[in-house]
Symmetry: C2
Subunit: 189 residues, 2 copies
DNA sequence: CACGATACGGAGCAATGTTCCGCTTAGCCC
DNA sequence: GGGCTAAGCGGAACATTGCTCCGTATCGTG
């Protein structure tokens, strides 16, 4: 949607943009999502100006790098709802997917909430909250979970839970607890 | 414990340390825990050197400012266990206390996990994890909750959950869900 | 091939935490 | 009261960020 014709950029511009995306992906794997912009520019073999012309903000670059994965996660929602035994199972499976995404990208969960990550934050939430809401509503309608928790709140909380990096901390397990708590007293303990 | 005799600092040094603590407390309330060190130094009417001699690191200053509140929270643990109806109730009440502490200090939860907050992180955890462990063990022994969640993990998760500042996000509610999840399937489900 | 729009590069700016070092002064001894 | 010394102080300077600016190089079209 809103696929207005691209003004046909110059060849070197397109080339650089791709190089930047590849380099950023590589650097993010190696040094985490919080890697300095300079490092990424260096890895891509371009100057600071170039990186900022293509991605006005650090967050925009991160969004671009992970966009298709977020998309995949968003699309998996309805699919899981259709294929899983119960809405609650679908919800759990979907959140698992999301958590996997967050914890495999070193520092993503933390970066999402960083000061100047407004765009990042907004993008993730805008894209995934509706999906989560659908799963949540289905589970609530089936009487499997309480109905007083908003999708936004749940996503926000799950994102928060995925922030740590301590070896004795397993984000997945705590998220599991949270999802389990969702079912407790499904509308009245 | 380890109360080695203080080398009796100079009067102005003690005065400045106190001024720094007071100023920091004030600034933290006004601008959040992430306030620039320079602001605190200015508010206290001292130079940068002074602040760093008394508190080698930003985190050390934060720890010093909140130390007695953390202490109070730690001491409330056993008290709640003795006065509450059930260990689970005591645990919930205690975590509530902790959450209140975190959310009333603008940005504290976020700061705790910030890069160079090692000392902060370590102090909070060292002091409170044992208390949490006691409550957790009591509740588990009473068969009220599953027994496969470590105190460290729970504290870490609760701390993470308290990070956001969005108006449509209520950390307390999600922590409540988490604690509720603790009880679900008490050891299997 | 010439020329204008497009894109590039990287020095430079602002904000931060932290370190360093010459100057000041409290506190003791006479 | 007057020195003297070490403890203490202030703040300039450094390193690391994200981000901006603008002179220069390059693309692609006529």
């Amino acid at each position: 949607m809103s696929e207005e014709e691209a003004p046909r950029k110059r060849a070197d511009a397109r080339r650089n943009q791709q190089a930047l995306l590849d380099a950023a992906a590589a650097v993010f794997v190696r040094s985490g999502v919080e890697a300095p912009v300079r490092d990424i520019a260096a890895a891509a073999g371009v100057g600071m100006g170039t990186i900022y012309r293509h991605f006005p903000t650090r967050a925009d670059l991160v969004v671009a790098v992970y966009r298709h994965q977020v998309e995949a996660c968003a699309e998996a929602g309805p699919a899981l709802l259709a294929s899983s035994g119960t809405p609650h199972a679908a919800l759990a499976a979907w959140i698992d997917l999301f958590v996997d995404f967050l914890v495999t990208k070193h520092g993503l969960a933390t970066a999402i909430r960083s000061d100047n990550a407004g765009p990042l934050h907004a993008y993730f939430l805008d894209r995934l909250v509706p999906v989560c809401a659908e799963l949540l509503a289905a589970a609530a309608a089936a009487g499997e979970i309480r109905s007083d928790v908003a999708a936004f709140e749940l996503m926000f909380g799950v994102g928060n839970l995925c922030a740590g990096v301590d070896p004795r901390y397993d984000a997945r397990r705590l998220v599991g607890l949270l999802v389990a708590g969702l079912g407790s007293g499904g509308g009245g303990a």
